[in-house]
Structure formats: C-alpha cells, structure tokens
Symmetry: C2
Subunit: 314 residues, 2 copies
C-alpha cells in the first residue's frame, strides 16, 4: 500500500498542482494555516458563531453511507452542534446517545449559495490562511467541516481540485487514482463500498485490484485532493474541524453553473452520458431484448478498445 506523498515545501506543492503530468495528492506540512490552530476550541467557535442554525448529518453508524442513506438530516444551532461533536455520548440526541454528527457548511440559502466561510462565518474567517496553490479567479468555495470522532465519510470524487486544511483532530486518509474507478463499484460520484478499510470481497471482488493510497492528516496539515481522485476520510480519536477549499482546474465553461458542491461532472461529459442514456432508452423501446443486451455489450466492447488505444497513445 503506497502512502500519500508528503512535503514541507510550498514550492514543490505548487509544482505538483500545476504540472499536468504530476497532479497527484500530497500532504503539505508546516504551512502556517493561521491562528485557527490555537484559537478554534469548541468554546471559542461556539461564542463566535453563536446559535446560527446549521444543517447536519446524524447517524448511528460510524461509517456514513450516502448511497444507502444511513443518516438523517437535522438542524441544530451551531453552538449546540460543536459541543455535541466534541462528545462521544450525548444526553440530548436525535437517534441515539452515541450518534455521530457531520457538518458540511452550506450557504445561507442551501439551494443557491455556494459555501463560503468569509460570507457565512465572517467572525472566524480571518483566523485561517490557505496555502496559495491557485489563483483567486479560480476560487470556487471554502467549506467549513466538523465531525464527531471516529466518523467516516463515503468514498467519492470531486470534480474540482481542493485542499483539506486540518485545524483540529486527526484524520485517516484513503485515496484512489481516477482510473481505479473500474474497481470501486461507482454509483454516480460515490462508491458502493461502504467499509473501504475492510471491504466485503465477495460483493466487491474487483476492489482487490485497487491501489490504496493511505495517510494521516494531522492538525496544521493540508491535503491536496486533485479533481477525480477518490477519497475516503475518517476522523480518529478526537472530533475534527477542517476547512476545505475548492478551485477550478479547467476553464470555467467546463463546470456546471448550478453546481454548489464542486462534484457535478464536467459539462461535455454530462452531455455525453445524458445522450447515451437517451439512446439506450430508445433502443430498449424499439428492439427485442436480445438486441438491446447485445448492443449495450457491443458499446462496452467499443469503450474497452477505446481505453486500450487511449492508454497506448498517452
């Protein structure tokens, strides 16, 4: 199992992000992320942000599963949330006293706003500094994240480059290169394999072929998550606070204008898969099932060949 690359050098970090032939994940150590690292105690955040209502995921399971939805969405005042996250057992709860919380900041209008810590949490925004890995015109969002200890999020990929700045708590990281999509049993941008540390090989035999890149993110570290790299993040013994900054790697026209999360596939791909879905639907309406089954396999053969030829060329 390879480990995620680590560096202390901002220059090297910048080079990895910008060199089209590199663009692999790395953990950047020793970058000064600002006063947040000392200031952001639960009491400080509670007092600064106060009772602003925030939308959260609540689950009885330590591994949150987006595909099977083993969590509910709830709302709590921020100052309550942060204290609940701090505890492993709570007297007040939604589902059970050991329930886990996961807060991923949204905008004030959840349907139209893109998360932006400066806009939505101005009282604490100046406490944090981002490593300068992108130019400001490519900035997309800055997402404030808090979760209970020992809480794992689903494996997924994002469509934008992003950096996860760890402020408090330690995280276990597992990442997969984009081409490992073949082994990860994907539904949209998410893997069906929930327990990625100990997968059910009977249900998911191909995952044996995936290459696990692993690492530990400590407070003060920054993780570069290149667009399309799958990642699975789990908080360890203490609750976790981080800020996740997204930016565009490609020209702005490639990105879905209505994407609030930085995870909607690029426009030309969405068009392609939409067209394909429509065509398959037409085939299915018109032809006997033997023809449909055959022709979908024929398309898959065509893609197999395309992938092989493309690998040779590139």
């Amino acid at each position: 199992m390879p480990t995620i690359y680590e560096t202390d050098s901002l220059d090297e970090a910048l080079n990895i992000v910008q060199d089209e032939n590199k663009r692999y994940p790395f953990i950047l150590h020793k970058f000064d992320i600002g006063s947040c690292q000392e200031k952001w105690t639960s009491d400080y955040l509670a007092s600064k942000i106060g009772s602003k209502p925030v939308r959260i995921h609540v689950s009885q399971d330590s591994m949150m599963d987006f595909v099977r939805k083993n969590f509910t969405y709830e709302t709590l005042p921020f100052n309550k949330l942060i204290h609940r996250c701090e505890q492993t057992i709570n007297d007040e709860y939604f589902l059970a006293s050991h329930e886990r919380y996961y807060f991923r900041a949204l905008g004030d209008n959840q349907r139209t706003d893109i998360a932006n810590i400066e806009k939505h949490f101005p009282s604490i925004a100046n406490d944090i500094k981002y490593p300068p890995l992108f130019s400001s015109e490519n900035f997309f969002s800055s997402v404030f994240r808090i979760s209970s200890a020992n809480t794992q999020l689903w494996t997924h990929y994002d469509i934008m480059d992003n950096i996860l700045i760890q402020v408090h708590g330690t995280k276990r990281l597992i990442m997969f290169q984009p081409s490992d999509i073949d082994y990860l049993y994907i539904d949209g941008d998410k893997s069906l394999i929930n327990n990625i540390e100990e997968p059910d090989f009977e249900t998911y035999p191909l995952v044996r072929q995936a290459t696990y890149y692993t690492g530990i993110l400590q407070p003060g570290d920054c993780l570069f998550i290149p667009a399309l790299w799958f990642h699975n993040v789990k908080s360890l013994d203490t609750y976790a606070i981080s800020v996740n900054v997204f930016w565009r790697h490609l020209n702005i026209d490639f990105y879905e204008p209505k994407d609030l999360y930085g995870n909607k596939d690029v426009v030309p791909f969405s068009r392609t898969i939409g067209q394909l879905a429509k065509s398959l639907n037409e085939l299915d309406k018109q032809l006997p099932s033997v023809y449909v089954d055959f022709y979908v396999r024929r398309l898959r053969c065509y893609l197999d060949n395309y992938i092989k030829e493309y690998e040779k060329k590139n």
Copy 2:
C-alpha cells in the same frame, strides 16, 4: 461444449425461428432442398454458369482472417474457379499451388446489387428449394458460396436471420450466443481470434469463458443462423457448395438501406455508436488526458450497471 440443436421437423424449426424466446441456432435435417444435391457437380455448374467472371478471396492460409487480411481479392471465370476449388493443389494459381479459394457471390454491380441467386445465376436457381422459414416480403438475399476444402472463414455475426443450405461437402460449425461478444475480442462484427478452434489464450484469455456450440453440417442440411449469433464455418475434406438465404427479422426500417451483406448494424445502434464516437472525440479534444481516460471508464461503469440491471429485468 454444447452441440447445436438438431431437428428433422420443419414445424419445430419454424417455431424456433418465430418464438422470440427461442430463436437459437439449429440444423434442420431431411428437408428436401431440391435437385441441386445430385445435380451440382463441378462439371454441371461449370457448364451451366460458364465463364461468367466472379470475384473471389484467395489465401495461402487455411484460416481466412478478415481483420488481418491474409488473402487477396482476385477475379476468375466461374468455370475455372469451380475446378480450382475442387483441387487442393492447382497448377495455375495466384499465390501458391496450395492456395485456398472462397467465393461469396455478389451482384453484377458489386457496389449496388444485393446477391440473388435467381437474378445472377438463373440457370441453376431452380435446382434449389429453401425451407419456408420466413415470409417472402422479408426476403433479403440468396448468396451462392463455394470454398476449397479445409478452409475456415472468420468468426462474425450477421444482422439478419439466415439459413445456410449445404449442397455439397461437409462443414464444421462453431457458434456463440450474442452475449458472448464480451469474450470474443470483437472489431466491428468480426472476432480478432482467428484460430477459434485452438485460440491463443495468452492473447485472448476471456475466450475461455465463451460457450462453444458445435455441429457438423452435411449435404442436404440447413443451418439456422439467428441474427447476432457469432459463427465460424470451416469446410472439411471436400470442397463446399452452399446457398445462404438472408431475411429480415425486424421491421424493414431498422436495416441500413445501403447494406448489401446483411451485416450492417441496425440503424438506431449505428446512430448511438456514431454519436458516442463523436462525443469521445470532443472530450479528447477539450480535456486533459486524465479526464478523458476517467470519463471513458465512467461510461463503461455506466454500461456495466445497465447490463446488470437489464439482465435482472429480462
């Protein structure tokens, strides 16, 4: 290895062709194919058809390979061709004295005519009778075929139903159901595996998973080849004469109007794969290679899921 189904009953044959849930290949024995079985000696055919020039495949290899083109196209007067096919060694030849010949009748205008034995070989057309497995308005073509002994044609599928009426000589048959396309290393409608009897498993490991349906076609037998079933046919110890009759299984609108061979994919599929090729080309022009590779794999995952779901439904 299952054998190709065999029957003496024309009624059963008709039922297999017409029942959408059957439509598997079979060898029909004991159907009276007419006087051809006795009359069609090489001398008879030579004298009846005379020196009409015909286009032929000539190869030094006993396994003709359409993908790698181990043959040349030549022209011979029919009466010369039939005598050359009859011999295994010829004094007159194009490439070598042991060369093999394969004649697949075309129209008089090779670019526009659909093969029709009544039209292009009227002097012998009345010698043969087709089993009545289709209605005359669905008739597409009747193809006169002659090949040297011990000559194998490439594995391929046709898009129309057809029946191979064996008049002279014996043929070894290998067939695969349409869904085995996954294991046959297809380029268009043809398999890359040339030596299908003893495949190179290192190059073509998946062919181990294909189900070989085998059979022997004797003079007087008729083989039903359903649309999309892969078939590989080899003449055995004597040269082979057959007539191959094609007809439409689906509504006429599904078939490419310019198809002369009955092997062009149905119109809605051709449109789908054409569109997909165009979209991939666009993706490739616009996006960095990591994105292209990733998204083609993503499309393949989509088809994997589609196939699985489709199997469950049907």
